[in-house]
């Protein structure tokens, strides 16, 4: 039986993700763990997160999980979600400037406060709700229609330096990177565990992914 570990570092609703993974594939052993050995032994790893980046990076360093995540990123399929995606970039402008894990060169920026849509209506921050995702080719999008809507809730977004790291965009109102991919690492700004059918499909694709592109 293949195994997946959801990394527990005190940030966010791990139970939702664990439940969704189990629902996506009942044949997979799903664990929630903070133990580096358990994480190292798993076939696949999910790096979730909600909340503030400062707390997130502090928790990752205090627990030693920052190093564990870097090792996972070099060895097996890794899925970052929301703050777990943003933490993979070089740094974030949330709360000043916070150094992150630097697995994807680039920055995390805040949406401007004065955004308006094409009708001139003001756009609220956080970007909250179901938005369309424009995919670029990748095995994790298998069986997910182009422009499907996923559930987002965030005020900051990833701006990768290398355009080829961007594997999907969404508009608010300008296009921003909502998914990153490189080798065996895939990361999404939206919440697949809260995105109904298409979200469960993405999780199922991840649970069957060998990390190849």
């Amino acid at each position: 039986m293949s195994s997946v570990v959801v990394i527990d570092y005190g940030m966010g609703n791990l139970h939702s993700i664990a439940k969704a993974l189990q629902h996506a594939d009942s044949g997979v052993n799903v664990q929630i763990s903070a133990d580096p050995k358990t994480i190292a032994a798993a076939d696949r790893v999910v790096f979730p997160g909600v909340g503030a980046m400062r707390d997130c990076m502090q928790a990752l360093h205090e627990t030693g999980l920052a190093e564990v995540i870097k090792q996972v990123a070099n060895s097996k399929p890794l899925l970052g979600i929301c703050l777990g995606m943003q933490a993979l970039l070089t740094d974030s402008e949330e709360g000043g400037k916070i150094d992150c894990l630097n697995l994807f060169p680039g920055h995390v920026r805040r949406f401007a406060d004065d955004l308006t849509d094409s009708n001139g209506e003001r756009l609220k921050i956080p970007h909250m709700g179901w938005n369309q995702v424009q995919q670029l080719p990748h095995p994790l999008w298998q069986s997910i229609p182009q422009n499907s809507r996923f559930y987002f809730v965030h005020s900051y977004f990833a701006a990768p330096d290398n355009q080829q790291d961007c594997i999907a965009t969404s508009d608010y109102p300008q296009p921003f990177t909502c998914a990153l991919a490189k080798d065996n690492v895939f990361a999404v700004q939206f919440h697949p565990e809260k995105s109904q059918t298409v979200g469960l499909q993405l999780l199922q694709n991840f649970l069957r992914w060998d990390g190849a592109n």
Partner: protein
């Protein structure tokens, strides 16, 4: 192509049963919140809100079990409100599988609670519920105040100022209910909705008074709400959520179908 406006069905739950003058035609799911949540999920609800109106404290475990059950098979955002007074209450709901909690009277009696909750769990899961009622006389400029105890007790707090304060304290979203319209089926209080939405940078969910599908669309177009919440029109199965979305789309609103 952009962000969809959300439709959020709300279930008032008393001791584990859905209430509010509900007369179900479909016997099988009569009053069972898990069954109803499943149906709303199938019909395309963008989120589901549970409002626990259980009177006694020790019976609150019931709502935790409901959320646990729903969260293990319905994979859209779930909000739980009603009786959220402590950080421990919030933790219990999040651990049960809720994504957000609604804080209502506890915010009025102790605004710092909202700040503590947002610091601890993040603004994304803190919804502040505001019950407002018009207090200005006919002909005067509009003025609304916050009411507690189901709209019976005035607090004297200006609703627009209160909403701004709650945003500053870290609310991620505002659930705005017009106590004048709640239960009347005569539509949202659109001037109220618009006044609050225009004053805030965070999303506003309009609630209270929905009687038909045009009311939902009006809340978005005229009230400038980011999401609309309704209970009875969906419970009675007068309209399905899909019908509501198709109607909103026909009025030019972007929805998730």
């Amino acid at each position: 192509m952009s962000l969809a406006k959300r439709i959020i069905p709300c279930l008032d739950v008393d001791n584990g049963r859905v209430v509010k003058g509900v007369k179900f035609v479909d016997i099988r799911d009569a009053g069972d919140p898990v069954e109803i949540a499943r149906r709303y999920d199938r019909e395309g609800a963008d989120e589901i809100t549970f409002l626990d109106i259980t009177a006694t404290h020790h019976d609150r475990d019931t709502i935790v079990h409901v959320v646990e059950q729903v969260a293990s098979e319905v994979f859209i955002p779930l909000t739980v409100g009603g009786g959220i007074r402590t950080l421990d209450d919030i933790r219990r709901m999040l651990n049960a599988g809720a994504d957000k909690v609604g804080i209502n009277s506890a915010a009025v009696f102790n605004p710092e609670f909202v700040q503590q909750a947002a610091d601890k769990f993040g603004s994304q899961c803190i919804v502040v519920a505001i019950d407002a009622k018009k207090v200005s006389a006919e002909g005067e400029p509009n003025r609304w105040e916050i009411f507690t105890h189901g709209g019976r007790k005035s607090t004297g707090i200006n609703a627009v100022e209160w909403a701004i304060k709650m945003q500053d304290y870290g609310a991620g979203e505002i659930l705005l209910t017009s106590m004048d319209r709640d239960g009347t089926k005569s539509g949202f209080d659109l001037p109220l909705t618009r006044a609050i939405s225009d004053a805030l940078t965070i999303p506003v969910i309009a609630s209270g008074g929905v009687g038909n599908l045009d009311h939902l669309a009006d809340g978005i177009i005229d009230g400038k709400a980011d999401a609309v919440l309704a209970a009875s029109i969906f419970h009675f199965a007068e309209y399905s959520i899909e019908q509501a979305k198709l109607h909103m789309q026909s009025r030019g609103i972007e929805v998730r179908l």
